[in-house]
């Protein structure tokens, strides 16, 4: 008897969910007795609310929204993090010669509205304030058209970054990871009560995802074919490039080599929460226990690579 589970993704089916899709397509979930349905997300999707309200038992989510949810006392927790590092990186064109966050002073920094807090933390880390820069909501075209000097993007989204990467004068980057904000990404979240009551299912889920990502890492072309079978508009060549970056730089890091797939440490969460508390985004009394339950990671057999 298969156990029915729904996984709500934060975004459309693409390379960032390759491991989960492979686990589904290769039957890794089924092997564990799970009948998983993966639901695509989108800009009008809110996975924290959807998990809370039972649209899905498990979802992927990003660090900021998890912290804000915890700040409101909402009963969800992370039990793993597919991306070991949050990829958010600030790009500038070579012409503008912005080599470090210190060079941001007086510059126009473009990002989505939601990235304001991250920028604040990065600035804070470099002894600056939001007033020292001009924040503009902008995307890559804004950088290329000279509306901003720096723009936030994810290096994993290879297709998006093509115009920057191909800039004749080169480009410079500052990632949040290297600039004082070390949180992870594509966290697996579930309701707190579910983590308590059905840890067995979550463990099996995590083990299947682990297997899926490992398979995707070893067979990227096949993985992308599987993604494309669920997402007809995927451009396989671009997505393959993305997947390779995702696997090599974000799924598998030193930390997974040591602790295994999807690892989260309390210390990292505590540090992250502190940076957000410091700039007043969340209550200072929040701790890793409010956002993280380590029992699933501890119980799961995880690949170390």
């Amino acid at each position: 008897q298969q156990k029915q589970v729904k996984l709500q993704l934060a975004w459309l089916f693409n390379g960032a969910a390759a491991g989960e899709i492979v686990a589904l397509k290769k039957g890794f979930f089924a092997e564990k007795g799970l009948d998983v349905e993966i639901l695509p997300g989108g800009p009008n999707s809110n996975t924290v609310q959807e998990t809370l309200s039972g649209v899905a038992q498990i979802a992927t989510a990003y660090a900021p929204e998890i912290m804000y949810a915890a700040n409101q006392g909402l009963p969800i927790k992370t039990f793993g993090a597919a991306f070991q590092k949050a990829p958010l990186t600030f790009y500038s064109l070579g012409e503008s010669n912005i080599k470090s966050v210190a060079d941001w002073k007086g510059k126009r920094i473009g990002a989505s509205q939601g990235a304001t807090a991250q920028i604040k933390v990065v600035l804070d880390h470099n002894g600056m304030k939001l007033d020292d820069i001009t924040f503009i909501q902008a995307q890559i075209p804004g950088l290329l058209q000279g509306q901003v000097d720096v723009v936030a993007s994810w290096p994993t989204n290879v297709a998006q970054n093509v115009p920057i990467v191909q800039n004749p004068a080169g480009y410079n980057t500052q990632s949040i990871w290297d600039n004082g904000l070390q949180f992870q990404s594509n966290y697996y979240i579930a309701r707190t009560d579910l983590i308590g009551s059905d840890s067995d299912m979550l463990v099996k889920f995590l083990e299947a995802c682990d297997k899926g990502w490992a398979y995707a890492a070893d067979h990227p072309e096949e993985a992308i074919d599987m993604v494309a079978s669920m997402s007809s508009a995927i451009e396989k060549d671009k997505e393959l490039a993305s997947l390779k970056v995702i696997v090599s730089d974000f799924i598998y890091t030193d930390e997974t080599r040591e602790h295994g797939f999807a690892n989260i440490s309390k210390d990292r969460w505590n540090a992250t929460l502190q940076t957000y508390a410091k700039i007043g985004e969340i209550k200072p009394e929040l701790t890793a226990d409010d956002v993280f339950d380590g029992s699933i990671l501890a119980a799961a057999q995880r690949t170390k690579r």
Binding site: G42, S53, A159, S232
Partner: protein, 274 residues
């Protein structure tokens, strides 16, 4: 100052109504193609002259390339979106008409619930998307409801207006005949409202396409909305614009169908009183 010759419509030429593509329809089609072509030429000119980069706005030629390359993809994506839009159109307009009828039947209901309708209209979809997903699941239903929500309001406003824009002398006649409110509705108000209702349907037929697209943004792996997001994410501007064009073709087709229906239904002169 040129003299108004629009009076020519009163000239005694035989008019042929038909919903089958007659010469009139072919002409309209030709004109539409001409208008769109002109727009494309202008667009191409602007893109070329000002050197607009293709990641921002691709040239029509690029879009044409994407169109021909991705045609199967676009057609495949159009199917669910058309379904959602059509069902949303039916649902939204039916509800709007029913609410409008209740408003016109009872002024108190109108005064009480018109503001509520506006309130519902001002709720951004993103704010209630999770609620819709819980109640309606992940299938086609929430998309239909979003399309319906989006096209509900124009039809409500127009049909309330239309149901009231009745020749007062006809109301007097019906009064003398002791017609019930329902009879006045079925025999007089509906006809008086038809020009308004068709006008509203023309608005909502385009809105419901947009509604279905926005609906797909709460989570989908098919449909025009999905394709739009994926193309945006991939920075595939030609495909993005080809997708937008596909949405437009759906909307324009819907508009044309409603227009033909209108011609077919309203055969009297809506400005005339007899």
């Amino acid at each position: 100052m040129s003299v108004d010759r629009s009076i020519e419509t009163a000239a005694p030429l035989p008019r042929i109504w038909s919903i089958l593509p007659g010469p009139e329809v072919m002409r309209a089609l030709g004109m539409a193609v001409l208008g769109l072509s002109l727009t494309l030429v202008l667009w191409q000119l602007v893109v070329t002259l000002f050197g607009v980069p293709s990641y921002l706005v691709p040239a029509p030629t690029d879009v044409a390339g994407a169109l021909s390359r991705d045609l199967p993809l676009l057609v495949e994506a159009a199917v669910p979106t058309i379904t959602e839009a059509f069902l949303g159109f039916l649902l939204g307009n039916t509800v709007a008409l029913l609410v409008a009828v209740s408003f016109v039947y009872n002024k108190v209901i109108e005064e009480m619930f018109y503001p509520v309708a506006i309130l519902v209209k001002t709720i951004p979809i993103v704010a209630i998307a999770p609620v819709l997903k819980i109640i309606l699941g992940n299938g086609i239903e929430p998309k239909i409801v979003i399309a319906a929500l989006i096209c509900f309001f124009p039809t409500l406003v127009n049909s309330v207006r239309g149901f009231r824009a009745v020749n007062p002398q006809l109301l007097e006649l019906m009064h003398v005949l002791s017609a019930s409110k329902t009879e006045v509705f079925l025999r007089i108000r509906i006809y008086s409202a038809l020009p308004y209702i068709f006008s509203a349907l023309k608005i909502s037929v385009t809105m419901c396409v947009l509604g279905a697209i926005v609906g797909e943004w709460i989570g989908a792996n098919q449909g025009i909305g999905y394709l739009l997001l994926q193309s945006m994410f991939d920075f595939n501007a030609p495909r993005l614009f080809a997708t937008i064009l596909t949405a437009s073709v759906i909307a324009i087709t819907g508009f044309a169908i409603v227009s033909m229906l209108e011609k077919w239904v309203i055969r009297w002169d809506p400005g005339a009183a007899m």
